[in-house]
């Protein structure tokens, strides 16, 4: 697989792996209804490392993290977990039925019990301790994400897995959430695996990007945009510090049935039917 990274700024090179591998997979495949949702995926998330998954809709991003977390059973390959590690899962906004009375503190202890003090402390880590007695149905998209992240932190995770954490959040909120996630990586010294909702824009602190369209199309480090005037103008100076551009480096195209057609190195996104 092509590991070439095209960066606008030559000073930014792919960073070396930070720590020991915590969670990952080898040659992972998930077959459902006679179709491979993902196939031949290799991945490692190391301690202190932030990995972003990008890719078109239906490319298997959610399938991949669900397999890693044991929610979906893989059909091929294996999931690798370092012994004794704890994972924290932050799903996309939960659809909690209105008939279900659920306060934030009860959501925090959905599976495991915790004391009130522990709950408030975890919520404080994401700046949402004032929401502790609210009903989850009253929360905004950003508030809900912060509560869900705090919920995952309650178990002191070694790896934090987030599924499109900024999807239902406005632009300013996205910048703040990304900053929060990066700070949690430093505070908890955990690995972070997150699915990005945007094909080209990932969080600035990302160490490695993985583009998934059924298989791993390309991986690499995101380019630095904060020093590029055009992106600073596009995103604003604050946002440019939390976001980064990922330049895809695909060395193959996809045939009509999704089969891989190898060819000269392209830098085109159109082969996968990317929306933007």
């Amino acid at each position: 697989m092509n590991e070439t990274v095209l960066s606008r700024d030559p000073a930014v090179q792919p960073q070396s792996p930070k720590g020991a591998p915590l969670l990952g997979c080898r040659d992972l495949g998930v077959l459902r209804d006679g179709r491979w949702l993902i196939r031949g995926v290799d991945l490692d998330v190391r301690r202190g490392e932030i990995v972003s998954i990008v890719g078109p809709n239906g490319g298997g991003k959610t399938t991949l993290i669900k397999s890693l977390l044991g929610i979906m059973r893989p059909s091929a390959g294996q999931v690798t977990r370092a012994a004794g590690i704890r994972t924290g899962y932050v799903p996309q906004r939960l659809a909690v039925d209105r008939t279900m009375p659920l306060s934030v503190d009860r959501l925090m202890t959905l599976v495991r019990r915790a004391s009130r003090a522990e709950i408030v402390a975890a919520l404080a880590q994401t700046g949402s301790d004032h929401l502790v007695d609210r009903a989850v149905q009253e929360l905004s998209g950003g508030e809900f994400q912060r509560v869900l992240i705090a919920r995952a932190l309650l178990n002191r995770p070694d790896v934090l897995v987030l599924d499109e954490p900024v999807q239902s959040v406005d632009f300013t909120g996205q910048v703040e959430l990304y900053r929060l996630i990066a700070s949690l990586r430093d505070r908890y010294d955990c690995g972070v695996l997150l699915v990005s909702h945007d094909l080209h824009v990932v969080m600035r602190e990302t160490d490695r990007v993985l583009c998934l369209a059924g298989h791993v199309c390309c991986t690499g480090a995101p380019g630095d945009v904060s020093r590029s005037p055009e992106y600073t103008r596009l995103f604003g100076p604050t946002a440019a510090e939390t976001l980064a551009i990922y330049q895809h480096a695909h060395d193959h195209a996809h045939g009509p049935a999704g089969e891989i057609v190898t060819g000269d190195a392209h830098n085109h996104f159109h082969h996968h039917g990317h929306e933007d």
Binding site: I71, P91, M100, P101, L102, S103
Partner: protein, 274 residues
């Protein structure tokens, strides 16, 4: 003490309410009212088969509701039509099959109205013991699986990711519904069991901020409905099941009015507080 039929009916009714209402909360949360209905309607077939095989109506009902409920779970998973359509078909089919089978059994006389709408006078001593035993088992199991079952109800994937065996929880839950149907049949009747499951739960929603509180409140409201309904049934000689449901409905209306008034007052205070 159990010699008095009123005492027997009250003990059995309260026992049923104490388990049916907390379990009914899950029916409300998981939007499974039709599922409960279908399972309950299949009970009549259980009555017929129980008499035919000689194991007795209650055991027959338990076996048939377990089988039907598990088949439903399987069927809903593979069905290509919408779940409510499947259940709508099966619910009435199950009831009709039971009625037809009973009609063929000309050699037994079955108190059909009693099975369909409940019959307090038919609650014997052994029925009371069955209810108490069944209710104790259901409550114990429900308490044991409460937290993981709530987690699986809020979000299956989140619960799975954190180590909850969601499939097992759901099967156990379906088995509990089958037990509740079997023990409530004599009190409220096959046609009305679902209402005892969901009306008290719905009435409790407005006063609850956690699932646990809703379950406890639903049980309290259910006990009130049973006591009120059975009292009215004896006084005015009305059928037991419908009287209990009318009482539950009245409590639901009162609770809805009070909850709305409370929410309005809270809203008003919030506005004035600004």
């Amino acid at each position: 003490m159990l010699d008095d039929f009123l005492v027997r009916a009250m003990v059995a009714g309260i026992g049923v309410a104490l388990v049916a209402c907390p379990l009914g909360c899950f029916i409300v949360w998981r939007r499974m009212a039709y599922f409960g209905d279908t399972t309950a309607h299949a009970a009549l077939l259980g009555v017929a088969l129980g008499i035919l095989t000689g194991v007795g109506p209650t055991a027959g009902v338990f076996v048939i509701t377990v089988v039907v409920a598990l088949l439903l779970v399987l069927f809903l998973r593979i069905a290509r039509v919408a779940g409510d359509t499947v259940l709508g078909i099966l619910s009435h089919a199950a009831l009709s099959i039971g009625l037809v089978v009973l009609a063929f059994m000309t050699w037994v006389r079955v108190d059909l109205v009693g099975y369909l709408f409940g019959d307090v006078l038919a609650v014997g001593r052994s029925d009371v013991y069955t209810v108490i035993g069944g209710a104790a088992v259901v409550l114990a199991v429900l308490a044991a699986i409460w937290r993981p079952l709530v987690a699986a109800t809020v979000d299956r994937d989140l619960a799975k990711a954190e180590g909850v065996n969601v499939a097992v929880m759901e099967v156990v839950y379906v088995l509990l519904i089958a037990v509740v149907v079997a023990i409530s049949m004599k009190i409220v009747g096959i046609l009305l069991i679902t209402s005892l499951l969901i009306i008290p739960a719905a009435a409790a929603r407005g006063f609850s901020r956690t699932p646990e509180r809703m379950a406890v409140l639903a049980a309290v409201i259910g006990v009130m409905a049973v006591a009120g309904g059975l009292g009215a049934s004896l006084r005015w000689d009305t059928p037991a099941g419908p009287s209990i449901v009318v009482a539950a409905f009245a409590l639901f209306l009162v609770s809805a009015a009070v909850a709305t008034a409370l929410a309005g007052a809270r809203h008003g205070n919030a506005l004035r507080g600004r």
